[in-house]
């Protein structure tokens, strides 16, 4: 008697397990299909970028069967993409470095140092997160123009050397550190700037990586500001170059897609390498936005 009940139970459990497995496999199939659809524009982009231009109107397919690398050479000849790459890389490198340095310094001061006006200053800086870029666009442009920085690297870089999000990120991180962390170093005669440099900074890998990827993607992908402060094609960033290329060679899809592919690679590669940090801090950035 007990034996039958027992075996009935195991059969029931086994059925439940099988149903669960089937449902999970079904979810995977669904997710892979949706994933394929979501990434479809990228497959399309790569396929077209490798197609012989003469075959562009032949019924399209999503997986490349031709490999016409000439399209990339042609795109590079039609527009100075190397120059755009260089400009964007210089701007992105400076913006990332500046944000890491200045946000970490300010975050350290707001979390660990006492000074008059600390809380009110922090609140003011934080509240600027609510200010849309539209409203600061025209005055920022005028300031950059007065400083003679139109069509220069500083013009592309300086307004973004620090971000309120970065300051908040580092402050939250440093405030969790144990209270007596500095005490020993202070007794040994270290200055507080040395403590930041030798104690806090070496412990900051997660926020450095997270802010690094945020700032890099921002710098690499930004469009409106470079559009406003650069009129000289030699100073264009990759996004401006691509948009202008698209305006001029609007239907030369093969070289256009080659240029687009080249422009998205750094952002996607950087994201995949640092995605762990990026995603972990996404919720924080969401709460602030």
């Amino acid at each position: 008697m007990a034996d039958t009940i027992f075996s009935q139970r195991t059969t029931w459990n086994r059925i439940k397990m099988v149903v669960g497995t089937i449902r999970r496999i079904w979810a995977h199939i669904l997710l892979l299909t949706i994933g394929f659809i979501v990434l479809m524009p990228f497959f399309w982009m790569i396929t077209i970028s490798l197609k012989p231009p003469a075959l562009i109107y032949v019924p399209p397919h999503l997986i490349p069967i031709h490999f016409e690398w000439q399209n990339y050479v042609k795109a590079l000849e039609a527009a100075p993409f190397a120059r755009y790459y260089l400009n964007t890389s210089i701007a992105a490198l400076c913006i990332v470095t500046g944000q890491l340095l200045f946000s970490s310094l300010a975050g350290y001061a707001f979390a660990r140092l006492h000074f008059p006006g600390r809380n009110i200053l922090f609140l003011i800086l934080l509240s600027t997160l609510m200010v849309p870029f539209y409203i600061t666009l025209i005055p920022s442009y005028l300031i950059v123009r007065i400083l003679g920085m139109v069509n220069t690297y500083p013009g592309l870089i300086v307004p973004f050397l620090v971000s309120a999000f970065g300051i908040f990120l580092f402050r939250q991180y440093y405030i969790e550190f144990p209270k007596d962390l500095e005490e020993k170093a202070l007794m040994d005669g270290c200055s507080r700037l040395q403590i930041w440099r030798h104690v806090f900074l070496p412990l900051s890998k997660p926020p450095l990586a997270a802010l690094g990827i945020f700032a890099f993607l921002f710098a690499w992908n930004s469009f409106l500001w470079p559009l406003v402060v650069t009129t000289d094609p030699d100073m264009w960033t990759i996004q401006i170059g691509l948009a202008m290329f698209s305006g001029r060679y609007g239907t030369e899809w093969t070289s256009l897609m080659a240029g687009t592919t080249v422009s998205v690679i750094p952002a996607i590669v950087a994201f995949i390498i640092l995605q762990k940090y990026y995603i972990r801090h996404l919720a924080l950035s969401a709460r602030l936005g």
Binding site: W44, F115, P116, Y134, A243
Partner: protein, 287 residues
């Protein structure tokens, strides 16, 4: 001065100077400019009071662009929020490969709007993949971006595609924070899948949904790059969103005062959306 205070000043100075110069000062300066008729070049600025604002209110192009921008924002938010929640609960059910799916769905989010606009222009073109697919299942091809009726839906589709991964990842984080036990208990009590969603998932996810709702609305309201590259505001002003209107007024027609007034109104709308969110979130906590 104490060493601590001195160090603190050194630490916060760069951040304060940059944010002060390029964010805080511009708010006030923008308001000042919006009260003038400045063209951005001439040495004098004529004070016109609220003239720009009353001109805006009478301007049909302005109302058209506000309507279009709201339409875009609501469209993008609705699609990406519902699809994001659905995707997140699907991922949450699989137990494995969650980080793989997260990366897959997030790739469009880290792509630039410009690149997305260029690729989707190609997809929407008469020779593109979408038209071809439609033709093959018997739907007559639409020249999406050249048709005033279809240009905005096309823009919304791309905007939602760019937003989907973000909403999915944040929703997933929220779903993963709900203890499994709640659902097991619900099952024991005889709640079906639908009522489990209605009475367990939804109330616990409410703050996150609200947050994503407001963030998506605000971000989408500030759309610029996508419209600039994909349609340039056309055809027949059908996608001339507020950002484009502001940009054109400031940097094509040199109406800095008028453009600043557009910026101030946009700011006000964004602020109202955020304030409503805060109110709702507080309300949610009391209940």
């Amino acid at each position: 001065m104490k060493e601590e205070t001195r160090t603190a000043l050194i630490c916060v100075a760069p951040a304060t100077v940059i944010i002060g110069t390029f964010t805080i000062f511009p708010i006030f300066y923008s308001f000042y400019l919006s009260l003038t008729d400045w063209d951005g070049l001439s040495p004098t600025k004529n004070f016109v009071g609220f003239g720009n604002y009353s001109q805006l209110i009478a301007d049909e192009a302005f109302w058209n662009s506000i309507k279009l921008t709201l339409c875009y924002a609501v469209g993008v938010t609705t699609i990406s929020l519902i699809a994001g929640l659905a995707l997140a609960s699907l991922i949450n059910r699989t137990e494995r490969l969650a980080s793989f799916y997260r990366v897959i769905f997030f790739i469009p989010v880290v792509t630039s709007f410009v690149a997305a606009a260029v690729v989707w222009r190609s997809l929407f073109s008469p020779a593109g993949f979408l038209s071809d697919t439609f033709r093959s299942i018997g739907i007559p091809a639409i020249n999406w971006l050249a048709d005033p009726t279809w240009a905005m839906p096309a823009l919304i589709l791309v905007g939602a595609w760019m937003r989907l991964g973000f909403n999915t990842v944040i929703s997933l984080a929220g779903l993963q924070a709900i203890p499994r036990g709640y659902y097991d208990k619900g099952k024991v009590d005889g709640a079906g899948a639908l009522s489990r969603f209605r009475f367990i998932t939804l109330p616990l996810m409410r703050p996150i949904i609200l947050l994503l709702l407001v963030m998506s609305l605000v971000d989408a309201f500030l759309v610029f790059d996508l419209a600039y590259v994909m349609t340039g505001g056309g055809p027949l002003q059908a996608t001339n969103v507020a950002g484009l209107l502001l940009y054109k007024n400031a940097f094509h027609y040199y109406k800095m005062g008028y453009a600043s007034a557009i910026g101030m109104i946009t700011f006000a709308i964004v602020l109202i959306i955020s304030l409503i969110q805060m109110k709702l979130l507080k309300f949610g906590k009391e209940v």
